[in-house]
């Protein structure tokens, strides 16, 4: 273990300025997470232009801290007003809100905070152990293996949270297609520029990210109807009692493992982790009938899982350059914006980077527990901010942020067009996260494909000479055909069960 790198990484983060910026990111993350409609993906996208002048390590640390805190923040409104501030907190509301209605909001919030911290810290331990190992393996990857890995990452879009696997895949492919706009690096050919000079340099992803996360959501919010929410007033976050902790410890540990593993899978996000965490908590519970009516494990399970997902998602992002979730796709874009090359070389050339991110995320986990304990009453009030002021403020930040990125008015138009297209695409079921993943991974996919073609002398069959390629191709097929295989197996199981005269335990 490189002690120098560890110490350098830690020293980058424990400087007063860094600590302050991480604290600000944590507070911002909790606020954004708690506000329904505002997501941590959007906040990270809006934060991008602010970080241009910062040290890249600090910029990425701020985003990672915001990501962690935003994931926890969603639970506050999920528990207090039954409106998850962010999608990963949806499962938390199933039992968190009934607990709050029973006058146990503080108990639910306390369990949410502690489970989140445990899940987050567990995933960070996995992150710090797994990322360098994965990077070491990835260093042996040749372009063909990178192509197969990126293809696998994109194929996982078929399985990410979203209602239509096909639409996710189309959005991802369109994102890759958009990444090809501009002058081709190998041949210097203008591609999809339609003679417009400003497209020669390609479409930069920062204004696109701001547009599709902020502007499309703003347009959606413009037609939202204000609903009067039943507000739980007496709130004071309470740390879990020994009895609650004893009851939930197995759930927390199980969800931490599930969340971390789901997070590590390319493209799978914290929402999937939370739902799986909730389902497993119910499945293993001695009192599954209590779920939905205010079971404390129903809060611990999803919260440990969704925060564990954040550390897990950082593993492929930093070790392989393949985002583990929608938000980490933006973090990946930020790495590129700061001129860093995500992937194993980043780890080899600047190992202190990994330790700095680890320290920042660890601190963020501790900070949001403290911030949550101290300020839960305040955060519960932020839902009172009227939509009529909140979203215009988001627009102002998006407008000036898109301009500030390169100080180019064209970027503001790119942001606007992306937002308008994103709004109508979203209405047709095309999610922003798959598109962003395609956009961010597009250049890597094409570069590795081009390099492979050069190596293979255009013989495609040589992809199958590599066992690693074959593994990733098999995983790609599995993830694409997963839903069909699952249905097929389900049918076979049902047919098999019908053959039994009595209902089998499996059917029950």
């Amino acid at each position: 273990m490189d002690i120098d790198a560890i110490l350098t990484g830690i020293s980058l983060i424990v400087a007063p300025e860094s600590l302050l910026l991480i604290f600000v990111s944590v507070v911002l993350g909790v606020v954004v997470g708690a506000l329904p409609g505002l997501s941590s993906s959007m906040a990270v996208a809006l934060l991008l232009p602010f970080t241009i002048g910062l040290n890249p390590v600090l910029a990425i640390s701020m985003m990672a801290a915001l990501y962690c805190a935003g994931t926890f923040g969603g639970s506050i409104t999920a528990i207090l007003i039954n409106t998850p501030g962010a999608p990963p907190a949806v499962a938390t509301s199933f039992d968190g809100y009934p607990l709050a209605q029973r006058g146990e909001a503080g108990r639910a919030l306390g369990m949410a905070a502690v489970s989140s911290v445990i899940g987050g810290v567990f995933s960070l331990v996995v992150f710090i152990v797994a990322a360098p190992l994965l990077a070491k393996v990835a260093l042996k990857f040749r372009p063909q293996e990178y192509f197969a890995l990126t293809l696998f990452g994109l194929s996982m879009l078929a399985a990410i949270s979203g209602r239509s696997a096909l639409r996710n895949l189309i959005a991802g492919a369109l994102g890759v297609l958009v990444s090809t706009v501009g002058i081709a690096l190998v041949t210097g050919t203008e591609r999809f520029t339609f003679g417009i000079p400003v497209l020669y340099d390609g479409i930069d992803f920062v204004p696109v990210l701001i547009g599709i996360f902020a502007i499309s959501e703003l347009l959606g919010q413009s037609q939202a109807v204000d609903k009067a929410k039943e507000r739980i007033r007496s709130v004071a976050l309470r740390l879990p009692s020994r009895e609650d902790f004893r009851r939930c410890r197995a759930t927390i540990m199980r969800s931490s493992v599930i969340g971390t593993l789901i997070g590590i899978l390319p493209a799978e996000g914290t929402t999937v982790a939370a739902i799986m965490g909730y389902n497993e908590a119910r499945r293993w519970s001695k009192h599954p009938e209590e779920f939905g009516t205010g079971a404390i494990e129903g809060v611990a399970g999803p919260e440990a899982a969704n925060n564990a997902g954040t550390g897990g998602a950082m593993v492929p992002t930093l070790a392989l350059g393949i985002p583990g979730s929608g938000t980490t796709a933006i973090i990946l874009a930020a790495l590129m914006m700061h001129g860093l090359r995500p992937g194993p070389y980043l780890m080899r050339e600047t190992p202190e980077f990994l330790y700095a991110i680890f320290t920042a995320m660890l601190l963020a986990n501790v900070m949001f527990l403290v911030v949550g304990l101290a300020g839960v009453k305040l955060f519960s009030l932020i839902t009172l901010i009227p939509r009529t002021f909140l979203w215009p403020a988001v627009f102002v930040f998006a407008l000036i942020g898109a301009y500030a990125y390169r100080q180019n008015p064209l970027d503001v138009w790119v942001m606007l067009i992306s937002g308008l297209v994103g709004f109508f695409a979203l209405r047709q079921g095309f999610g922003p996260a798959p598109f962003v993943m395609g956009l961010v991974l597009g250049s890597l996919l094409e570069k590795s494909w081009s390099q492979s073609m050069i190596i293979f002398d255009s013989n495609w069959l040589r992809f199958f000479e590599s066992p690693i390629c074959n593994l990733f191709f098999a995983l790609t097929l599995l993830s694409l055909a997963g839903p069909l295989i699952g249905k097929g197996l389900g049918r076979i199981a049902q047919v098999g069960m019908r053959a039994f005269p009595r209902r089998s335990t499996l059917e029950e």
Binding site: T187, T189, F192, L218, S222, F395, L399, V412
Partner: protein, 171 residues
């Protein structure tokens, strides 16, 4: 096929919005493919087995195939007893288009008027447009937020806001 599975094999109609989305995607693919045919030919020595058209055409082909499959996704889900809820079934309300028009005007006006007036205008107009009628908070918000954002970007982040009519303030 008759018998028990009759209900599940009943003819399912394609959803019109799915057909429309598929048609739009195919049209986009057609235009993009046509564009690839206009790109100048690259000598083989320069292309090095990776001509500039191949990768985009592969992608266009993939999108076109998936677009053709799109209408069947809902049919298959419904046939299996599920449903494909993608949202957006209701028409977008007029306020969406008015908001889109206002923000488009703001983007158009940004280089002409400068950052501060555009931010003030949108911070006042959007709340009014969305039904806010508390005029004092609108005024405070409409002036306070743009000034704070301007100070943050112009002084804190050293972003050059010296463009447009109001740019003189920052030059």
């Amino acid at each position: 096929m008759a018998g028990g599975g009759g209900a599940s094999f009943a003819p399912h109609r394609f959803d019109r919005s799915d057909l429309a989305v598929a048609a739009v995607l195919l049209a986009i693919c057609a235009v993009l493919y046509w564009d690839t045919t206009r790109w100048p030919a690259v000598p083989e020595t320069l292309a090095q087995n990776a001509p500039p058209t191949t990768f985009p055409r592969l992608l266009i082909g993939s999108v076109a195939i998936m677009a053709l499959m799109l209408p069947f996704e809902r049919v298959m889900k419904e046939r299996n007893g599920g449903s494909l809820l993608i949202g957006g079934q209701a028409r977008a309300r007029p306020i969406v288009f008015v908001t889109a028009a206002v923000i488009t005007l703001a983007v158009y006006g940004l280089p002409i008027l400068g950052a501060l007036p555009v931010m003030i205008a949108t911070s006042v107009l959007l709340p009014l447009l969305w039904g806010e009628r508390r005029y004092l908070p609108i005024l405070l918000f409409g002036v306070g937020l743009p000034i704070a954002v301007t100070l943050l970007f112009a002084l804190g982040l050293k972003v050059n806001l010296g463009f447009g009519w109001a740019g003189a303030l920052f030059r």
